[in-house]
């Protein structure tokens, strides 16, 4: 054997997981519980995810809705309050009272004192001429006849304008009241109000920094500054829900440049204003996002935990299963073997016995012929007769040796400890195969060191070991093969039996598995237990078995047995 071959001692190898059946079982044992545990966990995680998301959404919607309705109410109130005051002024005083710049100025002063955000005040006649004006600008005698608001106020009696710059160079809006006179004519009381009013109503409530609140008009022009959308009078592109009426509408919008938003819309009655509250999801859901990543981490950790637990557990179960399968198979095999051997033993004993008696008779008859020829008178061809008798006697002797071996074999089935002559034991085993060996022209060389000691062991068990090993060697050998059996003492305490064949050999990848249960290179014809049991027996007898093999060159089994059995 060269150094390429592997040398494995029997005691170092334990059969583990090399069999596809157990591998499949193990994979199943991992996958099924893993999925069974994981699927509900995933479902729970997904449900939890959406529940949390919805809870956050509801909370956000509530916050926006709350802010929106509060702001709307106070804005509506502020505008209504100013309109009511103007209306009161228009009704409570005659046109004459107001048709005086000084008096109008005094009224404006009163209004400013009360409200602060009135900028100027004007009286416009039904021809659209601003006949009287009180305020910081020189706007007297301007004609508003062709402006749309003039028509609207003359028709509806009241008007609130969009925010605009106009002549005054700062954002403001207008509230106008039409007053009918007895003569069927009318005049208009027109007040300009600083948009600070709108801002203050919004800022007052804009406590949540994540929420951007602002006002636009129906044409999408910003009426107050917005944190995210732009400054006053910028036009923005927002989808305003139709049919706002008196309701607040909250909806989610995805804006291409700003991401997911929750937007709330509320219309301020009797005005062109629409109040908008917008909330960016990324800000609002920050807490939820951390929660979400916590859930994901928890899920991953659980998966890992389940996987590790399940795979360790399945490894344990499969190895236990394999162990018990092996044990059971070995027991069954042993029972079968023992039965077979016992039957064989009984059969050979009875055959041997039946043959022994006629053999004894033949022997004695031949002896008698010999006596007659020897003691009686001479007769022709006496020498020839004596020669024939001799040949009969020696043939009988040969038969008797065979029958004695058969008897001996049958008797050796019981477990017991005795002194065993390994040489005769090996010879007995070889006798069982001798005709096969002769038939296939296999040369058997038995090389025995002089002074081989007897060993203390179990004859039946040793027979099983060597019967199996020699049987294997014969199966591996081809015609004209050579089987060498060497018997020697490697040291004073051991006997070594080396069984070498120059047969087909064993593949390098197979040789390491050779003592594993169920491993067989003989395909369907072998149980894969022979060498496994052989190894068990050798170890039980206190010995060691090892193998070296090379494909195409042959195999060598070495069995070392103690001379004296130490329990």
């Amino acid at each position: 054997m060269d150094e390429q071959t592997q040398n494995i001692t029997a005691s170092s190898e334990e059969g583990q997981g090399s069999l596809p059946r157990y591998h499949r079982l193990r994979v199943n044992l991992i996958i099924v519980p893993f999925l069974a545990a994981l699927i509900p966990l995933m479902i729970m995680a997904v449900i939890n995810y959406y529940q949390d998301y919805n809870a956050y959404k509801t909370e956000n919607n509530y916050t926006i809705s709350h802010l929106l309705s509060n702001s709307k109410r106070s804005l509506q109130f502020a505008i209504e309050e100013r309109r009511a005051v103007l209306s009161l002024i228009a009704r409570g005083r005659t046109l004459k009272d107001l048709s005086d710049d000084a008096r109008l100025m005094a009224t404006l002063r009163d209004l400013k004192e009360s409200f602060g955000d009135f900028v100027d005040l004007g009286i416009i006649d039904d021809g659209g001429n601003q006949t009287f004006y009180a305020g910081p600008y020189k706007l007297k005698d301007i004609n508003y006849m062709n402006q749309s608001w003039f028509h609207e106020v003359s028709l509806r009696g009241t008007y609130v304008s969009d925010v605009f710059m106009g002549y005054r160079e700062f954002p403001h809006f207008v509230i106008a009241i039409a007053r009918e006179l007895e003569n069927g004519k009318f005049y208009i009381l027109r007040a300009t109000i600083d948009t600070k009013l709108l801002n203050s109503q919004i800022y007052l409530l804009e406590s949540n920094e994540q929420i951007d609140m602002f006002i636009i008009n129906k044409s999408g022009i910003l009426q107050t500054a917005s944190t995210f959308y732009g400054d006053v009078l910028d036009t923005i592109d927002l989808q305003i829900p139709s049919r706002l009426l008196d309701r607040e509408i909250i909806k989610e919008q995805i804006l291409p440049d700003r991401g997911d938003m929750t937007m709330g819309f509320a219309s301020i009655v009797e005005s062109p204003f629409i109040l908008i509250a917008s909330l960016k999801h990324r800000d609002a859901f920050l807490h939820w996002l951390t929660l979400r990543s916590d859930v994901v981490w928890f899920l991953l950790a659980s998966m890992l935990g389940i996987l590790v637990t399940v795979s360790l557990r399945s490894k344990y179960i499969v190895s236990r299963l394999m162990e018990s399968d092996t044990r059971r198979a070995k027991i069954l095999h042993n029972i079968e073997y023992t039965n077979k051997m016992a039957t064989l033993g009984r059969l050979s004993a009875s055959v041997a016995h039946e043959i022994n008696n006629p053999l004894a008779i033949i022997n004695e008859k031949a002896g008698l012929i010999n006596d007659i020829a020897s003691y009686g008178p001479d007769f022709p061809k006496k020498d020839k007769v004596l020669g024939l008798v001799d040949s009969i006697t020696s043939s009988v002797e040969r038969c008797s040796r065979v029958t004695h071996r058969l008897l001996g074999f049958g008797r050796r089935m019981e477990f017991r400890k005795e002194q065993i002559d390994m040489k005769s034991l090996i010879n007995d085993v070889l006798d069982f195969q001798r005709s096969d060996a002769a038939h296939r022209n296999i040369q058997v060389n038995l090389n025995i060191e002089p002074d081989i000691k007897t060993i203390q062991s179990d004859r039946g068990q040793l027979q099983q070991v060597f019967l199996n090993l020699i049987n294997n060697a014969y199966s591996a050998l081809e015609k004209d093969g050579v089987l060498d059996i060497d018997l020697r003492h490697p040291n004073t305490n051991e006997i070594e039996v080396k069984i070498t064949d120059n047969g087909v050999g064993i593949d390098k990848k197979d040789v390491i598995h050779i003592f594993e249960p169920f491993f067989s290179t003989k395909g369907e014809s072998g149980t894969g237990l022979g060498l496994s049991i052989t190894k068990d027996i050798v170890e039980k007898l206190g010995g060691v078995i090892s193998v070296t093999s090379e494909l195409g060159k042959g195999t060598c089994f070495i069995v070392n047995l103690p001379i004296e059995r130490v329990e």
């Binding site: 004993a349 041997a352 016995h353 022994n356 008696n357 053999l359 004894a360 008779i361 022997n363 004695e364 008859k365 002896g367 008698l368 006596d371 007659i372 003691y375 008797s400 029958t403 004695h404 008897l407 001996g408 049958g410 008797r411 019981e414």
Partner: protein, 125 residues
């Protein structure tokens, strides 16, 4: 050693008759019985110097026969023959009242020698 008279008890008549004939060539007067009862009959009628009994006998077993004969003929030495493989594990213990246990197959010269020894050992003085 003078000629002596021996009784064989063996159910294998072919074998035992041949044996008797061969012994006669050697000057030994031999007789045989094929079972225990026949042996007892013969012992009543004739005087024998030695008896050789097969362990396995039909009816009365070899051991039982030896037991009886030891009582009726206390001075008759007995040799016993066992077949190979008889007994529990082939190592059959020599029963009481048996001079020597012989294993089959028996070499004729060994048998004669053992019979002579048995007679010698049994002779007084």
């Amino acid at each position: 050693m003078n000629s002596f008279h021996v009784l064989f008890v063996d159910d294998e008549e072919e074998l035992v008759s041949t044996l008797v004939e061969r012994l006669e060539y050697r000057g030994i007067i031999a007789d045989y019985a094929v079972n225990g009862n026949q042996a007892q009959e013969k012992l009543k009628r004739e005087k024998y110097n030695v008896m050789v009994v097969d362990l396995k006998l039909p009816g009365l077993s070899g051991e039982e026969l030896v037991h009886i004969v030891n009582k009726t003929h206390p001075n008759l030495p007995v040799l016993m023959i066992t077949g190979h493989g008889s007994g529990k594990d082939g190592s059959f213990e020599k029963p009481d009242g048996v001079f020597e246990l012989l294993q089959k197959p028996i070499d004729l010269s060994v048998l004669i020698k053992k019979m002579e020894e048995a007679i010698e050992a049994n002779e007084p003085g």
